[in-house]
């Protein structure tokens, strides 16, 4: 089967994810860890991130709407979010989390709310883009995936 067209698409998509700042070098590190013994590692770890971060987003939203706001807890929640985001190379997410943290430290509720909306949008966008990316990868099959470099 001729994968060259598919491969071109995959490489192009990955390049644009990097160029547009959605992902950074850490994502490459994850792909380096994928091999025959763990052929779906990247997709699995990314799935865990989205599951975990969705929960955190809900908790952050609830914590923001609770009066009086517990900024200490908010900071702790976004810290977790930021940490796991950086583990998968989600650099835009990580940066938005830093903004949120800054608003938190200033006890700026409105700033936090605005930042949360941005975080939710980034989260949804990244999720959609990565789902597309993994769908493309799945079409080539695990053997091709493991053997080829997508750089």
């Amino acid at each position: 089967m001729d994968y060259s067209n598919l491969r071109r698409q995959i490489i192009s998509m990955k390049k644009s994810l990097f160029d547009q700042g959605y992902l950074d070098e850490q994502f490459n590190q994850l792909e380096e860890l994928q091999d025959d013994s763990s052929p779906n590692f990247v997709e699995e770890v990314v799935a865990l991130f989205f599951k975990d971060s969705s929960r955190l987003l809900t908790n952050i939203e609830q914590a923001l709407e609770k009066y009086p706001q517990d900024f200490y807890r908010l900071d702790s929640l976004v810290h977790q979010f930021k940490g796991s985001g950086s583990s998968i190379g989600a650099v835009r997410m990580k940066n938005e989390c830093s903004m949120f943290k800054a608003h938190c430290n200033n006890r700026n509720l409105e700033g936090c709310r605005r930042s949360l909306q941005k975080m939710k949008r980034e989260h949804a966008t990244l999720k959609q883009k990565l789902e597309t990316y993994f769908q493309l990868l799945r079409q080539v099959g695990p053997r091709e995936r493991a053997v080829n470099s997508w750089k």
């Binding site: 590190q29 860890l33 994928q34 770890v45 865990l48 930021k82 940490g83 583990s87 470099s149």
Partner: protein
């Protein structure tokens, strides 16, 4: 003609974040470690056989550990017991204090790093942890086993005067070079058998 089979070193990884746990597990396995992951400091202590509620820690002899642990790597920021708290408990335990401990943190705070190192942490990794960081682990394990071997050898010397039977089947300092791969007291293998360290298997397939 005994073949020295190498039991992989066993690392206990502690992190409350699920994606991070998956990542550290993969990093360690790729580097040929046997891995156990737990999501909290208290679960780590449970696994290691000490109970943190006790004011006097249960003194568990090293050879009573179900499964030997050669290194502990823990996240710093965790709810409840932080990585620092866990480090302290380990260093307070007579049976565990020689196990090397590595702290991971997403924040580069020099005072935090120093505090951990002063408390006895062997290494501090900035997150996200990378494959290249894994090569720093084995030297700490080998160093601690050398120390441990020396302690044990001293004990044996004292014992041998009163104990004429040195061929006990479970005696881990048996001088034959058949280090059995299912020897659960892998911690007690002589350091000199392992001086020729096996090369790290880098499983990276992407050139």
């Amino acid at each position: 003609m005994a073949v020295a089979t190498e039991t992989p070193f066993h690392v206990l990884a502690v992190d409350d974040s699920l994606p991070d746990r998956k990542l550290i597990e993969r990093l360690l396995k790729t580097s040929s470690f046997h891995v156990t992951t737990v999501d909290s400091g208290s679960k780590a202590l449970q696994f290691l056989g000490i109970h943190d509620e006790d004011t006097c820690p249960v003194s568990v002899q090293a050879d009573q550990l179900e499964v030997a642990v050669n290194l502990i790597i823990t996240d710093y920021c965790m709810p409840g017991m932080t990585g620092y708290d866990l480090l302290k408990k380990i260093k307070e335990s007579s049976s565990l204090r020689d196990i090397p401990v590595v702290i991971m943190s997403s924040e580069n705070i020099p005072s935090r790093i120093n505090r951990c190192l002063e408390e006895g942490a062997d290494e501090f990794f900035l997150k996200p942890v990378r494959l290249s960081d894994m090569s720093k682990l084995k030297p700490h394990i080998l160093k601690s086993r050398c120390k441990e071997h020396q302690h044990h050898h001293q004990e044996q010397h004292q014992q041998s005067d009163s104990n004429s039977n040195s061929n006990g089947s479970s005696n881990p300092t048996n001088n034959s070079s058949s280090s059995s791969s299912d020897n659960s007291n892998s911690r007690k293998r002589k350091a000199e058998d392992n001086e020729e360290t096996s090369p790290q298997k880098n499983r990276s397939r992407h050139s």
